[in-house]
């Protein structure tokens, strides 16, 4: 292997992919700046975010040291444990804001759906990569069952945003593994039918309202449409160069809902304008490109599938969140990755990047 002949760099020893790290740090720095403005210009909220960023970087670093071999060895029991915990959430979970997402395991409260965000792609990547690529129909069917089971459990909580992310991470593995285009196109053709069935039998009333609101937000400007209208006003009024840091009237005067969490993109758009938006999208695009580059150059099928799935899932965060706040998609509780205030999702995301870095830097150990 050519890689063997290369001298190990300091980054390889640390199991860090530095271009990726630089991009991630850029995002997280931007996060603190925007959160200071969005959070009512209180320094306390910035410190809290910095603490989380620190924890996230440590999590990334620790996970990056775990070799992909280890992940494959432990994934089955972890996945199984996650499914059990998800069932546990539905049976004994604690509610907050109308949804049951937390499980109290005595020592602490955990959110099993966050664990599943990592367990799912590892599990499917492991399962599919055991056989030759592209997968056979029966592997696909088993894979689909492994994807659908936890997805339904999370949708039941209900947590539409997370279930979409988890289902995507599994399906991306199947796609990357070479799922036949005719199957993909067939599934897309069936989507309207499935969508109708989903609408009729699976969606909660509040979720339906969100979809209807998306189609015509102005119909109910003070009710369900308020968030989308205020968010579009924030983005649109930002113009090309924005109103300036801490000068956004929509955010500073609190017309924007969920300013420092789900709607933080609107704050950025209002205060930094199209220039800020373009920069942000550029960084995201670079991270995705880098993730896919690592995936393509990964040593084995497991690494390739897992790295690409994690990267594409990261993109789903970006697309769903920005699509939601700019009025393209219904309001679904997905944060803007690495920018939104909030601990759990940031730790999970950075752990995912830890896995990608591990895949990027653990090549030489995998010698047959």
């Amino acid at each position: 292997m050519t890689a063997l002949s290369h001298r190990k760099t300091i980054w390889d020893r640390l199991h860090i992919d530095w271009p990726l790290l630089v991009a991630l740090l850029a995002l997280m720095s931007a996060s603190t700046v925007i959160i200071f403005s969005a959070g009512g210009q209180e320094i306390g909220i910035v410190y809290a975010q910095l603490k989380r960023i620190g924890i996230s970087i440590i999590a990334m670093f620790v996970i990056a040291q775990i070799s992909p071999m280890m992940l494959q060895r432990w994934v089955l029991p972890i996945y199984a444990a996650c499914v059990i915990l998800l069932v546990g959430v539905l049976l004994f979970g604690e509610s907050s804001k109308g949804a049951q997402r937390w499980l109290n395991i005595g020592v602490t409260r955990i959110q099993p759906s966050e664990l599943m965000k990592l367990a799912m792609p590892i599990m499917i990547a492991w399962y599919i990569s055991r056989a030759h690529l592209p997968p056979k129909i029966r592997h696909l069917c088993v894979g689909l069952i492994l994807v659908v089971m936890p997805t339904l459990l999370i949708m039941k909580q209900p947590d539409l945003g997370t279930s979409i992310l988890i289902a995507s991470s599994g399906l991306f593995v199947l796609f990357m593994a070479g799922l036949q285009w005719r199957i993909i196109l067939g599934a897309l053709a069936l989507a309207p039918v499935a969508g109708y069935a989903f609408w009729q039998f699976a969606m909660h009333e509040y979720q339906k309202t969100r979809v209807l609101t998306l189609l015509d937000p102005e119909s109910d400007p003070l009710g369900a449409g308020y968030h989308i209208i205020q968010s579009k006003i924030a983005i649109g009024s930002g113009g090309v160069d924005g109103k300036g840091w801490t000068q956004g009237t929509q955010s500073q005067l609190e017309f924007l809902p969920e300013r420092h969490t789900d709607f933080i993109f609107s704050v950025l758009s209002e205060e930094f304008g199209l220039i800020g938006v373009t920069l942000l999208l550029g960084i995201y695009l670079f991270i995705i490109a880098r993730g896919l580059y690592i995936a393509v150059n990964a040593q084995d099928a497991f690494g390739k599938l897992l790295a690409s799935s994690l990267t594409l899932t990261f993109f789903v965060y970006v697309f769903v969140n920005i699509g939601m706040v700019s009025g393209l998609l219904p309001v679904v509780g997905v944060p803007l990755p690495l920018i939104s205030y909030g601990g759990t999702s940031m730790v999970t995301l950075m752990a995912g990047f830890g896995i990608i870095m591990s895949i990027a830097t653990h090549k030489r150990i995998l010698v047959n």
Binding site: A177, G178, L253, E254, S269, V277, L281, V296
Partner: protein, 622 residues
């Protein structure tokens, strides 16, 4: 698990497959990011202007700022209506930890009733927590002082001042000034109809009566505005710009408050009206209706107890000056004399025999003179001096109703005088047409003699009587009566110009002089002589004693009170000085006796005051 490991994998084919898929995925990502970007580009570039407008609409509100109401002064500059701060105890609920407990502590310093507390706690449940709410209004100066000392112990509690109308002279001027009170729905609709409602967006009170109502638009001023930035809950963050309200114009009345107070004292507890007109311009020096009431009660919303007290049989709310309906009685005998002379039904020398009664030819009915034995031979002077009824029965019979009602209409009877308040009645000047439309029967010759002595169908308001005498005194020149002399704005006094009404022209102007001379004689040796003995000025006048056929107010006929209400009304009209008249005094006192015993002495009190405390004349002032 391990068996698969051993199967041979085509690693490069798999790597190619993943690479192709990664490429496809990346293209897909690019397309979706492009969609996001195009959408945001549309929002931030193409539609940016409209979103900028909407973001400003969100945050910028225009708050109206109420103008200060114009003040009202009397002719000497004494303040009659002012704006005084009233102090309210207000609370911002957000800033108080335990509201109920804190209110109990505050009540150690300011008396807060359980009712007030309950009302307050109820009201804060319905409003924003950062909005100041009134806990108690109209604090006394003592309460303000005591609480100010302890205020630091109660964050969130504060004493707020607001301007409210105050009438320092209370019930002395109510019927002329009127009052302001809270703007109601009907008034708001009226303002909307006149497209004035935007000017009242910040206004709490509006003129309800009297001058306050008539001059509402002058007194009110123009609303100002404040452009403020608000947050999503409507809390004001900062003021962006301000345009000051324009205060209302101050009014200077023709009223002389000293004379007005004399009028009030002179009437005491008797029902009636007193008017003093400036003979030279029609300005009203005194305008008093008794009983009166305190207008300040209405400014803050009158309590039902206070309001019930106003609903007594003496009708304090009735403005007797302009809405009291009285038979003019003998006060119009000089007017009748002028007409008779000018129509030549009598001359200055004509003598009529008075046996104590008058009879129409071929009829039995006797119209009695007030003096049962009559006045023997009576000419026009004696007729006025002695108030001889028979003379005027005869004269009116000779004139006929048509000439009487035509002339009296010219003197202002049967119509509004046009004084500058809205509360005014026309009363009844009888005529052929009036009787036919009112009673569906023709005018009979027997209807005329009573009209000749100001009785019968004829009724008038004291203001009409005063106005008619003023025309007489001015020999036909008609200065319409008015209460407001000028407006004042930042020390700039502007006299309100008033149109003269067309003068009353006689065939022989000397006839005015005969009537005025007869009125002079009345004071020198006639019915008003006892009242004016020893006065330091030369006055003229005419007494009147009205038989009360119907009660003065437009009330239902009330058998129980008939006895008392049946007593005579005392009337007096007079002017002074005789040679160069300055004032015309009119007195009407209900159910107390005769014009010479009650009316004339009351008028004298006013003239005495006027000539010893002569107010500055507003005529000829720049």
């Amino acid at each position: 698990m391990l068996q698969r490991r051993n199967t041979i994998r085509d690693h490069s084919a798999e790597a190619n497959l993943v690479a192709r898929r990664a490429f496809a995925a990346f293209i897909f990502v690019l397309v979706l990011i492009a969609i996001l970007f195009v959408n945001i580009y549309n929002l931030q570039v193409n539609d940016s202007e409209s979103y900028k407008t909407r973001s400003n609409e969100n945050r910028i509100k225009l708050l109206p700022v109420a103008p200060n109401r114009g003040l009202i002064y009397d002719r000497n500059g004494t303040l009659l209506a002012e704006n005084r701060p009233v102090y309210n105890l207000e609370v911002v609920p957000e800033d108080v930890k335990n509201i109920s407990e804190t209110i109990d502590q505050v009540s150690n310093y300011i008396d807060i009733t359980a009712e007030q507390k309950e009302k307050f706690l109820k009201s804060i449940r319905r409003t924003r927590r950062f909005k100041s709410q009134v806990l108690k209004n109209r604090l006394t100066p003592d309460e303000v002082a005591v609480f100010s000392v302890h205020q630091h112990k109660f964050p969130g509690f504060s004493i707020e001042a607001r301007l409210a109308r105050f009438y320092p002279y209370g019930d002395t001027l109510t019927h002329a000034l009127g009052y302001v009170a809270k703007l109601n729905k009907t008034e708001l609709f009226d303002l909307q109809a006149q497209e004035l409602d935007t000017n009242y967006r910040a206004t709490r009170d509006i003129g309800k009566l009297g001058i306050e109502k008539y001059y509402e638009q002058m007194l009110h001023g123009t609303v100002g505005s404040q452009e403020v930035e608000i947050n999503n809950r409507g809390r004001i963050i900062r003021t962006l710009s301000e345009s000051e309200p324009v205060p209302g114009k101050d009014l200077v009345l023709t009223i002389d408050i000293g004379l007005q107070q004399v009028a009030q004292e002179a009437l005491g507890d008797r029902r009636g009206a007193i008017i003093v007109l400036d003979a030279r311009d029609g300005g009203v020096l005194a305008f008093y209706s008794n009983p009166s009431y305190d207008p300040n009660l209405f400014v803050h919303g009158i309590s039902s107890k206070d309001y019930r007290a106003l609903l007594n049989p003496d009708s304090p709310q009735l403005n007797r000056v302009t809405k009291g309906i009285y038979p003019p009685a003998s006060t119009i005998k000089p007017h009748m004399a002028v007409l008779a002379l000018d129509e030549n039904v009598v001359t200055e020398k004509t003598q009529i025999h008075d046996p104590g009664f008058f009879q129409l030819p071929n009829a039995d009915h006797k119209w009695r003179d007030w003096q049962p034995w009559g006045h023997d031979k009576v000419d026009v002077y004696k007729a006025v001096e002695q108030s001889c009824d028979t003379y005027f029965y005869e004269v009116s019979y000779r004139l006929g109703i048509d000439r009487i009602s035509d002339f009296m209409y010219k003197l202002g009877f049967g119509q509004r005088t046009g004084i500058d308040i809205h509360e005014e009645k026309t009363a009844i000047l009888p005529s052929r047409e009036w009787k036919e439309s009112r009673y569906k029967v023709p005018w009979y010759p027997g209807d005329t003699p009573s009209v000749g002595i100001g009785q019968g169908y004829w009724t008038a308001t004291p203001m009409q009587i005063a106005n008619s005498v003023n025309i007489l005194v001015n020999k036909g020149v008609h200065h319409p009566p008015h209460l407001v002399a000028a407006t004042k704005h930042a020390d700039q006094v502007q006299i309100l110009h008033r149109d003269e009404k067309p003068p009353v022209v006689l065939k022989n102007p000397k006839n005015w002089d005969i009537a005025l001379k007869a009125m002079h004689n009345t004071v020198l040796r006639g019915t008003a002589k006892p009242a004016f003995l020893g006065s330091e000025y030369d006055s003229a006048g005419k007494t009147g004693t009205a038989q009360v056929v119907s009660i003065a107010q437009d009330k239902e006929y009330d058998a129980d009170s008939l006895q008392e209400k049946h007593r005579d009304n005392a009337m007096y009209v007079g002017f002074a000085p005789f040679s160069n008249p300055e004032i015309v005094v009119t007195v009407a006192v209900e159910n107390t006796g005769g014009g010479s015993s009650v009316g004339a002495p009351t008028a004298r009190k006013l003239m005495d005051y006027y000539f010893s405390n002569k107010p500055e004349s507003l005529v000829g002032k720049p």
